[in-house]
């Protein structure tokens, strides 16, 4: 009941106050904390403390034995569609401790839907192909963004107020930051230290190869 009231107040305050954007830069360091990763993509940044209803379907595809995108943000309760554009069959499963799921094998052109509620990362694997990995990150509301390779993100139309910003990287690094939104856009920066080890094929972040993916819409939203 308290949460519902708080959400209502937030929505009302947003309606009556001027919204602003949060622009930010995320630097992801490796496990040692000494060296930045070559790519600062695959970081989800979102606001904590209130919920919003999902809108639309979050889509993750399977192409050439890989999940696309690698990191899919999904609003709590949002339908997540696992499409299969690959020529191979795949079996999608999650080993999430409280909300695991497993989608029996299906082939090209088919899709399966899942709805998740637990905030946080849900690691996704294929039963058949050992190299396939993805994370579906369930966020509480629509105020989120995923960084591009440069580490840039933008969360648009953030209502005024004091918000806690959380960032999480697929290698386990995470951080929080309080952001006050009153009038005008805010720029923030965060540094994350990885928990896991990764091997990156050397690529130059300038220009970003593969397109202009800078916000979540291009990361899988309709």
């Amino acid at each position: 009941m308290r949460i519902a009231l708080l959400s209502l107040m937030m929505v009302l305050s947003a309606a009556f106050s001027e919204a602003a954007d949060i622009d930010g830069w995320i630097v992801v360091m490796d496990k040692s904390g000494q060296n930045p990763l070559k790519s600062h993509a695959h970081v989800i940044v979102y606001l904590e403390g209130f919920f919003s209803e999902p809108d639309g379907v979050a889509v993750i595809d399977q192409q050439a034995k890989r999940f696309m995108p690698r990191l899919l943000p999904a609003i709590r309760g949002q339908t997540i569609r696992f499409e299969n554009s690959d020529i191979y069959q795949h079996t999608v499963f999650s080993t999430h401790p409280t909300e695991p799921f497993s989608l029996p094998r299906y082939g090209q052109g088919e899709s399966r839907n899942v709805v998740l509620h637990d905030i946080g990362p849900h690691p996704i694997f294929c039963d058949i192909h050992q190299n396939m990995i993805a994370d579906v990150y369930v966020v509480p509301n629509r105020y989120f963004a995923v960084t591009d390779a440069r580490g840039f993100f933008r969360i648009a139309d953030v209502p005024a107020g004091r918000h806690r910003l959380r960032a999480w990287h697929i290698l386990g690094g995470n951080a929080t930051l309080f952001v006050n939104i009153d009038s005008g856009n805010r720029a923030v920066s965060l540094e994350l230290q990885s928990v896991k080890t990764a091997v990156e094929t050397p690529v130059s972040p300038w220009p970003v190869p593969g397109g202009e993916a800078t916000d979540f819409q291009q990361d899988g939203y309709d």
Binding site: K31, T95, D127, Q130, I133, V199
Partner: protein, 597 residues
């Protein structure tokens, strides 16, 4: 007299020589053997070092072979779904994970002794039941911990009583451009004591499997004294840390010398660190054997050298001793001794020379004994060669007898001091004796101021000796003028002599006793000569008739007279003669003087 001195120890020459030769023999033997064995040892060590490098490669190949098998197995294990499930499914408890490893995966890989998984945070998710040690081992082992950074790690690990070769393979997942690590799968194979012994037998070297400068396991005496474990010890740590990976280094372990070589972990091949060693003393056993044989040879050589050098020294010293003994005999007037030095060397020459020296001394001694100093050496030698000189008694033969006497000497000597008398006689005799010797006469005796001399023809004509004797008399009278001039200058009175000469048979030879014999002449002719001399006036030379008959054509007769001589019944005709030419004391015919020939 000049004395040549040599400085030496009071030590027999033969011992000095033997000692010197022995020292040289020992020095040469010792030097040769020392240099020889040092060279052999240096070459052997060089060869062992080269050999150790080859051995390193053999051991590395054998370990690498096992490493490659381990890598294949690790990839196979980590590629399976079960291992990914262990590392990704948080719902699986440890018991289930261990069961999966032990009963679901390991049965397919019976070669593996170690199988486990560590998540990306370094927490062990599962392992086959090796006990809790493995967590501590992994936590401590720097090499294996490095696998958590995404690189494959190799090493040796001791878990409980067993030791294993381990590969820690990061389990990476994701597309090629971004592969993330789920965790680390580690697999291992046991190195049994038999395996190590086999490796040692194949390579011929002592082997230690290392982990962070700690000996995980070893085979061979080089490492037996070093404790094993997963962490360096106070004993093994410093040694292993200092061992070079390129140049074999020598360390003594329990009194035995070993050459050590360490091979650090090789990133390219994944060969974990190990060390090899080879016993230098065992390898140099043959050098020790050579040294032993050399010492035996040297011992025998030294003994032989001493004996041979002593023998040589004795051989060299023997002639010296012989010569010394002979010299002592000669010193005691035993001239009959002769040395015999066989061979053709310098000592033989010295022996011959020594014998010649003894013969010369003997001859000189005989001459001095027989004739005193007043005879020509050649004449004396010819006299001594005659048989009668070898026995007592002498021989009767024709000779010319010569007698000279100072006229009025008794009265003169009364006027002179004894010193002046001796001075006068010495000067007179010095001239007179010299002339006799020159004319090949032999001074037989001195009777006060008188001289008895003999002119023995020996193997020559009597006429020749007669001429020589007469010529001697003339020469004496002539020389006396010069002598008188000198004596007057020295304050002495002038003297005059009368000379008588006779020719006839007389006994010539050794006269006297066996203990004391001397050359002499006896007989009536000698007495006659004395009487003839008594008839000579001062400055005259008087000849008997037989002698005059031999030289009458070569002399000038100053007067002829017949007189009775005491002790002789018949009167005798005597001739006072002089040289044909008053200015020259010589006879008219040069051939009468043998010295002019």
């Amino acid at each position: 007299m000049a004395t040549i001195k040599t400085i030496g120890f009071h030590f027999p020459f033969k011992y000095k020589l033997a000692l010197s030769i022995t020292v040289v023999v020992i020095g040469v033997l010792a030097g040769t053997f020392f240099v020889l064995q040092r060279r052999i040892e240096a070459n052997a060590i060089k060869g062992i070092k080269i050999d150790l490098q080859s051995t390193r490669q053999i051991v590395a190949d054998l370990i690498e072979e096992r490493n490659m098998r381990l890598q294949e197995l690790a990839k196979a294990v980590s590629g399976g779904e079960l291992m990914r499930t262990i590392l990704t499914d948080a719902r699986l408890d440890r018991l289930t994970c261990d069961d999966i490893v032990l009963n679901e995966i390991l049965p397919s890989y019976p070669q593996l002794s170690v199988l486990g998984a560590v998540d990306s945070r370094g927490l062990i998710r599962a392992n086959n039941p090796l006990g809790p040690d493995i967590a501590a081992v992994l936590a401590l082992n720097d090499q294996l911990k490095s696998s958590l950074n995404g690189s494959i790690a190799h090493g040796f690990m001791r878990i409980g009583p067993n030791h294993h070769q381990i590969i820690a393979l990061p389990l990476m997942i994701g597309p090629d451009e971004f592969r993330e690590m789920l965790g680390v799968v580690f697999v291992g194979m046991t190195w049994t004591a038999t395996d190590l012994a086999k490796l040692r037998r194949l390579s011929g070297a002592d082997i230690a499997l290392l982990s962070d400068n700690a000996i995980v396991s070893s085979a061979g005496p080089a490492f037996d004294a070093m404790p094993t474990g997963n962490a360096p010890t106070a004993f093994s740590g410093p040694v292993l840390k200092n061992i070079s990976s390129t140049v074999p280094q020598m360390y003594a372990i329990a009194g035995e010398r070993f050459l050590f070589l360490k091979i650090d972990i090789q990133a390219e091949t994944g060969i974990p660190a190990f060390a090899i060693a080879r016993s230098l003393d065992a390898q140099l056993g043959f050098v020790q054997e050579i040294r032993r044989v050399m010492l035996e040879f040297a011992g025998v050589g030294i003994v032989l050298g001493v004996l041979v050098s002593f023998f040589i020294a004795m051989e060299i010293a023997k002639p010296v001793q012989t010569l010394t003994a002979a010299a002592r005999h000669v010193a005691k007037d035993n001239f009959g001794v002769r040395v015999v030095v066989s061979g053709k060397d310098e000592f033989a020459e010295l022996g011959d020379a020594f014998n010649q020296m003894i013969a010369g001394l003997h001859e000189r001694d005989m001459i001095r004994t027989a004739f005193g100093r007043y005879v020509d050496h050649e004449v004396a030698r010819r006299l001594l060669e005659r048989p009668e000189m070898q026995r007592l008694g002498g021989q009767k033969r024709d000779v010319v007898i010569f007698m000279a006497d100072i006229r009025g000497f008794s009265r003169l000597s009364e006027q002179l001091t004894p010193e002046q008398t001796v001075q006068l006689l010495n000067r007179y005799f010095a001239h007179i004796i010299g002339i006799i010797k020159d004319k090949e006469g032999v001074v037989v005796d001195f009777v006060g101021d008188g001289i008895l001399a003999l002119f023995d023809p020996l193997d020559r004509e009597m006429a020749t000796m007669a001429s020589s004797a007469v010529s001697c008399a003339f020469e004496m009278q002539h020389r006396l003028r010069q002598v008188n001039d000198e004596m007057i200058a020295d304050g002495l009175p002038p003297i005059s002599i009368g000379i008588g000469l006779n020719a006839g048979p007389a006994i010539v030879g050794n006269i006297g006793s066996k203990e004391r014999a001397k050359f002499g002449i006896v007989g009536a002719e000698v007495n006659l000569t004395q009487r003839i001399q008594g008839e000579a006036k001062p400055g005259e030379v008087v000849l008997s008739a037989p002698l005059y008959g031999r030289v009458k054509n070569r002399v000038r007769v100053d007067r002829t007279f017949i007189c009775e001589l005491k002790g002789f019944r018949q009167p005798r005709t005597l001739y006072a003669v002089g040289p044909p030419d008053d200015d020259s004391p010589h006879l008219s015919m040069g051939q009468n003087n043998p010295r002019t020939s």
